[in-house]
Symmetry: C2
Subunit: 159 residues, 2 copies
DNA sequence: CACAACTAGTTTCAATTCCAATTATACTTT
DNA sequence: AAAGTATAATTGGAATTGAAACTAGTTGTG
């Protein structure tokens, strides 16, 4: 029998708990300061950055589920932070954009995000941060590759 | 007004989507091959590694919610993969351990985990893997630090 | 143009997750 | 040893999530 890795050494586990810790902390800040959930925050960040978009485009850019995007948009609209205007090119969708209030909030939100990023990566050199970013991207690319083929039991454990 | 980072460049976001991609992929494998959820898998991994433990100890070692641990244990017991025996030292808790069947499955599970890890990090050098591990640990430590103090609005945006 | 196939957005429902309350036992203090 | 406090496990219920169904509008094809 092979010696089994302890869970704590298992990289996907480390990745998961680290990500949860960071996300949890950030979610807490957004909630406290602005009463925004993470999906709501993401939609605002993208809208503030690109101007009016459809939900479809938001779904692509945030990599969130379309249901999550839809709910976030609904909340933002109800709170008067965003507004939907009809899409002349396509009657099924609308353009979503920040209102003035929303744009104001966006102006406050982004510095908080940057401050959080700065704090979470405090003590990292610029090189380390770039390295980290690169590694994350490569991992993600790798998972994308994997998604085509499935592991079968004749196919693992042996090199 | 400060220029706002596009969401895609925001490190906590990159961390989150990468972690989700990896976790999602791994969850899928466990479900397909063994019908196990991630919490169930984690409990099995730890038990197979350390021998009998109480739920409290499992909660500590997996960093999961105690409810999640409790439910995972219940399922494992029902499936005959683990068994609870009374704890002579403390009548409130029991010792949880893998059954022979559970131990068998553990023997199959760990190679799959290792194969997944290998695939996700295929193309990484040993140095890069260690680097990545170290960076993750440092980030997590940093978030722990942060958890004591809260950001207030007079306190960010300015270096 | 009519019909089929497709897509954006929304709703519904079921599963999961998370918090708070509960129960049973253990420990501490007087 | 009785009373109060603390802790392990469990349960119940509310909130969140995601998959699939549904609606309305669009695109492509004969």
């Amino acid at each position: 029998m092979q010696p089994s890795i302890p869970l704590a050494k298992f990289l996907p586990y480390q990745l998961s708990i680290t990500s949860n810790a960071v996300s949890g902390r950030i979610a807490q800040e957004y909630r406290q300061h602005f009463g925004l959930s993470v999906p709501e925050w993401r939609v605002m960040a993208v809208l503030g950055d690109s101007g009016a978009l459809t939900q479809r485009e938001l779904t692509q850019r945030t990599l969130m589920d379309k249901v999550a995007v839809n709910r976030a948009c609904k909340v933002l609209e109800e709170r008067g932070l965003a507004i939907r205007t009809p899409n002349a090119q396509d009657g099924r969708s609308h353009h979503l954009d920040l209102t003035d209030t929303g744009r104001d909030m966006h102006g406050q939100i982004m510095p908080l995000a940057q401050e959080m990023e700065r704090r979470v990566f405090a003590g990292f050199s610029v090189d380390e941060i770039n390295q980290f970013r690169t590694l994350l991207e490569r991992v993600r690319g790798q998972v994308g590759e994997l998604d085509s083929d499935t592991i079968d039991s004749d196919n693992y454990g042996v090199r």
